[in-house]
């Protein structure tokens, strides 16, 4: 697998390597220069040594000559010249000892100095004999002092010192030359390597810049495309920061607010929407800044004339630490939908009203005929009128249920909440359903439980649910069957169950039981005279009351429908 290193890794590697090479070459160059300086210093010191040695040896010769002259003349002036030369020779040999390098050279100098001192001492003795005993005595002493052999030995030592110094100098020069060559070689390669790194770095930078340009180009193209898309979307898309300042918006936003981009970007929503609209939506903004998405509808008119309705969705944006730093806005104009919704509601309401008017006449007429108010009917006619009455009732229920379903779907079913005792409400519902139960030959048994359960509900709507469950149970019970109604408390919930001993709910129908127009089959609906909307309405009401409704099989046959609603908090 080929690993692609990032630009920063590559550049850091190249810079690090280059720096290391620079340090290495610099160190080598410094050491090489240091060695050359040392070598130069050493060469100078060595030449000075040799020069001093030569001067010393010449001085010895001059002292000896001065002494010989004094021996021959015996003049006091020559003696003074001799003594002055002696003092000078002793100083030079001590100064030379400070610049010698090797032990061998030090040894030679010590021996030379000893010999020179001995030689000087003998010269002094001879000069002293000349002064006290005369030339002959001095001449005899010179013959016995082996002066010539001492001179040769001193010359030999001087030659040794000179040769060793020159050899040491040559070795040093050779080492320095080799070291300088090696250093030069390494510096040259270092420079070559550094140049290679430089070229590499330039290639890497060039490629990186090319890639970055391509990426920027792609980003611009993508941004342009995104901008085109967001501008073309028939919705307002925007982003606002935590302070509610617009940081992004699409063209429809500008048209909506009738503002150019420069008078929109950076402005607060309060400024853009006005305080009245903003105060209305502020709780939703607080909600989204709390980290939760928000969805709501609101009226707004940018020109102060045309009333329009909008649906807004706010989605929080979080940073890597999970803090909300702003929110996205998606706003759509739902004025037309609202109008359609209003027309639909109006249509349903009108149809409902228009259906009820003829139904009133039909039902009323049939009711009077069936009751014998207009005279006794033949048996066949009585049966037919009974069928007509029953189906008229069914049509009335259907109209009612359609109206309720539409109101629930459009969110217009208002609830008037009050705290009541559930058992009393259920008992009242059972009484209201007595006639229906008797018609189906069903007996209703009610167990209200040991403790009264208080719930916060809309009484009329809950009665509607209970009667619906009761009438269903009566309809589907076997003739002479029993319907059991019971209230129990389950934790913080009051549960009402209505059980029958009917055929139960077919397995393949259970999933759609609470859906609109749900029917196990058409014959079933006809037999029971239902509209297919009752349980759907029941679910809608119970959910509005904060509860849930469900169904379960009854052991031994039949069904149990139940709902659970919250127990009211104690005042």
């Amino acid at each position: 697998m080929r690993v692609r290193l990032s630009f920063s890794v590559k550049i850091n590697f190249i810079l690090g390597l280059g720096l290391a090479i620079l340090v290495a070459v610099g160190t080598l160059a410094y050491r090489s220069i240091d060695e050359l300086v040392d070598a130069s210093r050493y060469e100078g010191a060595a030449l000075i040594q040799i020069g001093r040695l030569e001067a010393f040896m010449a001085q010895v010769k001059r002292i000896e000559s001065a002494q010989r002259k004094y021996l021959l003349t015996g003049a006091s002036g020559d003696l003074s010249i001799y003594r002055a030369a002696r003092l000078e020779a002793g100083m030079d040999i001590r100064g030379m000892a400070g610049v010698v390098e090797t032990l061998d050279q030090r040894r030679i100098l010590r021996e030379l100095e000893s010999l020179a001192e001995e030689r000087m001492r003998r010269l002094d003795t001879t000069a002293d004999v000349r002064a006290r005993l005369g030339l002959d005595a001095a001449t005899r002493l010179i013959s016995a002092s082996a002066a010539e052999s001492m001179n040769r030995e001193m010359d030999s030592l001087a030659d040794q010192f000179r040769a060793r110094t020159l050899r040491s100098l040559r070795v040093r020069q050779e080492d320095t030359t080799l070291s300088a060559g090696t250093t030069g070689f390494l510096i040259a390669w270092g420079i070559v390597f550094a140049l290679t790194l430089l070229v590499w770095a330039m290639v890497v930078i060039h490629r990186h810049q090319a890639r970055r340009r391509a990426a920027e180009e792609a980003l611009r193209a993508s941004e342009t495309q995104l901008r085109l898309i967001t501008d073309a979307v028939p919705a307002l898309i925007g982003y606002a920061d935590r302070d509610g300042r617009m940081q992004f918006h699409n063209k429809p936003f500008e048209r909506w607010l009738a503002r150019p981009a420069e008078r929109l970007h950076g402005f607060t929503l309060r400024n853009l929407l006005g305080p009245e609209t903003y105060d209305r939506i502020e709780p939703h903004i607080a909600h989204v800044l709390g980290g939760q998405p928000a969805q709501f509808e609101f009226p707004f008119s940018s020109d102060g004339d045309r009333a329009a309705y909008f649906s807004a969705q706010l989605v929080p944006r979080e940073d890597v630490q999970g803090r909300v730093i702003g929110f996205y806005l998606l706003i759509t104009d739902i004025t037309a939908l609202k109008e359609v919704d209003r027309m639909k509601s109006e249509f349903v309401s009108t149809v409902s009203h228009e259906l009820r008017t003829p139904l009133t006449s039909i039902r009323g007429s049939l009711g009077l005929i069936a009751a014998g108010v207009t005279g006794a009917l033949p048996e066949k006619a009585r049966q037919l009128v009974a069928i007509a009455v029953e189906n008229c009732e069914r049509l009335v229920r259907l109209v009612n249920d359609i109206l309720d379903t539409e109101r629930m779907a459009s969110g217009k079913m208002d609830m008037k909440f009050e705290v009541i005792e559930l058992g009393k409400l259920v008992a009242r519902s059972i009484v209201a359903n007595e006639g229906f139960a008797a018609m189906h030959g069903a007996r209703v048994r009610f167990d209200a439980g040991q403790q009264p359960q208080r719930v916060r509900v809309d009484q009329d709507r809950l009665v509607q649910v209970v009667i619906n469950l009761l009438s269903n149970a009566c309809k589907f019970s076997a003739p002479g069957g029993q319907v059991d109604v019971a209230i129990i408390r389950r934790d913080k919930w009051a549960r009402l169950s209505v059980s029958d001993n009917g055929p139960g709910v077919p397995v393949n129908f259970r999933a759609q039981l609470f859906e609109r127009f749900a029917r196990s089959d058409s014959s079933d609906a006809r037999r029971a005279g239902g509209t297919g909307l009752g349980l759907s309405i029941c679910r809608g009401i119970i959910e509005r009351l904060g509860g849930r409704i469900a169904f379960e099989e009854r052991p031994g046959g039949g069904s149990t429908f139940y709902f659970e609603i919250p127990i009211a908090e104690q005042a």
Binding site: S349, S352, H353, E354, R356, T357, P358, L359, T360, S361, I362, R363, G364, S365, G367, L368, A371, V373, T374, C392, V396, N400, L403, R407, D414, D460
Partner: protein
Amino acid sequence: MSADKNEELKKIMLVEDDADIRTVATMALEMVGGMQVHAFGSGEEAIAAVAGLAPQLIMLDVMMPGMNGPEVLVRIRERVETADIPVVFMTAKVQPEEVERLRTLGVLDVIAKPFDPMTLPDTIKGLWANRPRV
């Protein structure tokens, strides 16, 4: 108006623009309930006749061409001789908020259409019996 608590309800004014409903309601109230019904097809006719007729109770349809039920009610309440006659609305608009709105206009109750003709007389008599006394 008489305030006799035990006074029997005998004379009713029915205002309903739909002739069929008018007929059915009249038959139900008369043949089942044994009451005397004076039926009118519009609010204007009813207003013209109400003072002279002096019904014990008025059943008033809400939606009618011309003057609707609430407008007729206002006119009835404006006249001293008819101001205290109990009124019951009949309506096919049974949305709870609509019914609630009608109740706040000062009527005994609102009867939803379609009604059961056999129980209608008892319903009306019950409302009459429990009417607030003047």
